[in-house]
Homo-oligomer: 145 residues x 2
DNA sequence: CGGTAATAGTTGATTTTGTAACTAACAAGG
DNA sequence: CCTTGTTAGTTACAAAATCAACTATTACCG
């Protein structure tokens, strides 16, 4: 089964990005799913709160580029799991300040360690300069700068 | 709102990969959706058949790392649209050989062109050496080598 | 052979996501 | 104040993905 023409799907950036993203998510996903029954969005929200501290859903949405409905549902789940506490802003009663509970902190620290190990493992395939460049290029492609 | 510690989510490779993948899929998705009413999986199947020629669902599944139920449904849709023809293998009547119809070829060539343009546009953000390296790194991360 | 296991692909039930419309709270101009 | 517009977050309904169970066919092995 040889290629029919000169367009190489395996060179197509969106394809490569998707494959790499999927592959790199898989093994990590298993951890937060099995250990804490979390979905990807929940994990991301947890990480944002753990990483940047208290913030509102809106802020997470903006930072993580996740749609507000996903955030809303993730926060509900995380709140049910007692990982996140919600505090209504008394000056602007539309918004809520979200933060990690002690249990949420524990989960965050645990998962962060796994994440760091995993990131190191991925990066170890390349030279230091290469991974620096990779991150920079991905940031650009992701529209994060 | 300052960072609480030194782990940066925005540096975490799986996060960056996902964001970059999502972002890069978005604008392209619009094309195959609007022009041919295709879903992402359908597009991928079409591209695999166009790019590598006739193969079975199983082979596509393996190559593209797409689950067989997704493939099954995508093939149904593509077959309804008369983009893909299905031919049962007479030696092993469980499997089907899938290939593009002439109409499928036309759609494939059209979309491939858009894809190539888009890829060039993405690549243009970086130097030639950088994109070569990027592709290589993504291939490695995707487990394609 | 005959029975069990394996494989290709499909289908159905359950989750999860996406889109749009909605509620509640605030803002600003007249 | 009152209307109109905006914003934070939720909810409802449709679309899609996931997971498990299923059919049909072939392979393996005593």
């Amino acid at each position: 089964m040889s290629e029919k023409d000169d367009f190489a799907l395996r060179e197509f950036l969106p394809f490569l990005l998707n494959q790499a993203a999927e592959e790199s998510s898989l093994s990590f996903q298993k951890v937060y799913r099995d250990r804490y029954g979390m979905l990807r969005t929940e994990w991301r929200v947890l990480f944002h709160l753990g990483n940047y501290g208290e913030m509102t859903a809106k802020e997470i949405s903006k930072r993580a580029m996740i749609h507000k409905t996903k955030i809303s549902r993730a926060v509900q789940k995380l709140s049910e799991k007692r990982f996140v506490s919600r505090l209504r802003d008394e000056n602007d009663r539309r918004s809520e300040h979200l933060s990690l509970t002690p249990a949420g902190e524990v989960a965050y620290r645990d998962l962060r360690e796994v994440a760091e190990d995993y990131d190191r493992k991925l990066s170890a395939q390349f030279t230091k300069e290469e991974t620096v460049l990779l991150r920079k290029m991905l940031s650009r492609l992701a529209g994060l700068e």
